[in-house]
Amino acid sequence: MPVNEAPTASAATAATAATAATAFEPTILAFCCHWCTYSGADLAGLNRMSYPANVRVLRVPCSGRVNPQFVLTALNKGCDGVLVCGCHPGDCHYVSGNYFARRRLMAFKRLLEFTGLEPERFQVRWISGSEAGKFRDTVIEVCDQIRALGPYRSGVSDDVSLNG
């Protein structure tokens, strides 16, 4: 496991509630391609690089596997930000997966932002297996951005009253 022991989502939520907003620690879900970023994260661990424990790494076979619905689901289930990482264009293990992902996620990101999502909350980066430093820097950067934004309000608990 390339990730440090992380607090559970509910512990993070409880911590947020208990202390001031400055103490907010975001939960970030990172979909990492098995063939590149996942190894890059592993390498970061081997090299004892430290990066925020806010990120939860979820291994996927390819960035092309990341159904945009995953992103919405992650936000609805309590994540404050979502990061999708895959191989650099041209390097896809399956030849074209990341090319499809690039188009799809580019359009999807614009659609989410159109409906008011802060751009920082959903990001896509290409990180190869040797780019441990880039993985660390990306996680730090995204984490700082989302910490500054504060928690994501999905509206899960606001049941819609049709009348009222």
């Binding site: 409906t115 896509v124 049941d159 049709l162």
Partner: protein, 305 residues
């Protein structure tokens, strides 16, 4: 269109429908008939030549009929009345392998935009329509209107249907894009809050033809059944994304929505982005499937480095 044009087209439609049914060319004709209220029409399904006189055509044929071809084709060849929107819907379903061109017989009709029977004003969906006239048909009943075609306008009221520029087509999208993010969020949160998830939008959409919608994949659990902002947002955004690169911009979803959600602004956001990013074609203009998200180009814009 003028009353006389509407009457002439109605007569031509009835005659053609009667002939097609009597000769056995088609099993059913899908068109419109008068409803209970003044100017109201409702989709009609005629399989008896004697009943062809029920068909009407005029300024108030608000329903886009394309999707009915899927339900009717089991009985034999289906004649469908088509204008720009209906014909693009048919093309779209052919491209999506839902329909064969041979399973339908298309009765092309000129269109100068349809009106709301309650108010008499041009329907929202028709104000931003780029293709009033059928893009494909087996027979054309009456002359084409002006928009997008070379022919002279059918009559003076065709002025309603002057060519719609991209700027006009994307007015709503551009307006929203200019807003501050918080304002956009507030706008769509209010809209998604209104949604009752009756699914009229997906049911009326000629692009929504999945045998099993993600909404109904209970085992996968994509869509919770609770009505709250998060679930409503999930549904609406996913719906748009699923049809975004195939949307024919018929506007049926927005017309069908009982709660008045700005669904076409969402659809057109996708259409506009795909057009500008990937030079996507307008959907449903041909039978070819050229959906922008189903393919890629090595030289696509790179913004994820």
């Amino acid at each position: 269109m003028s009353l006389s044009t509407a009457e002439a087209l109605t007569d031509a439609l009835r005659e053609e429908a009667r002939r097609l049914l009597a000769e056995g060319t088609v099993a059913v004709v899908v068109g419109w008939e008068a409803g209970r209220f003044p100017n109201q029409t409702t989709p009609a399904f005629i399989s008896d030549p004697e009943q062809a006189q029920r068909l009407v055509y005029g300024d108030y044929c608000v329903n886009t009929l394309a999707k009915y071809a899927l339900g009717e084709k089991a009985a034999g060849k289906v004649a469908v009345c088509v204008r720009g929107c209906d014909s693009r819907g048919i093309n779209r379903m052919i491209a999506d392998n839902q329909l064969l061109r041979d399973e339908v017989y298309l009765l092309g009709l000129p269109c100068s935009g349809m009106k709301d029977p309650a108010t008499g004003s041009l329907l929202m969906k028709c104000r931003t329509c780029t293709e009033h006239d059928a893009v494909t048909y087996d027979v054309l009943l009456g002359p084409a209107t002006a928009a997008g075609h070379d022919g002279a306008s059918a009559d003076s009221s065709a002025g309603d249907s002057e060519h719609v520029s991209d700027e006009q087509r994307f007015t709503a999208v551009l307006g929203i894009e200019e807003m501050a993010p918080e304002k956009r969020r507030a706008l769509f949160d209010a809209a998604f809050n209104k949604c009752i998830r009756c699914y009229a939008c997906r049911k009326s959409c000629p692009c929504c033809t999945c045998r099993e919608c993600f909404v109904d994949q209970l085992r996968a659990g994509w869509q919770g059944k609770q009505n709250n902002l998060a679930e409503n947002r999930f549904y609406n955004i996913t719906r748009v994304f699923h049809i975004g690169d195939r949307c024919i911009e018929c506007g049926e979803c927005e017309r069908a929505c009982p709660m008045g959600l700005p669904l076409m602004a969402l659809n057109r956001k996708m259409v506009k982005d795909l057009k500008s990013l990937f030079n996507a074609d307008d959907a449903g203009m041909t039978e070819e499937n050229s959906a922008a998200l189903g393919r890629y180009d090595l030289g696509d814009l790179e913004e994820f480095m």
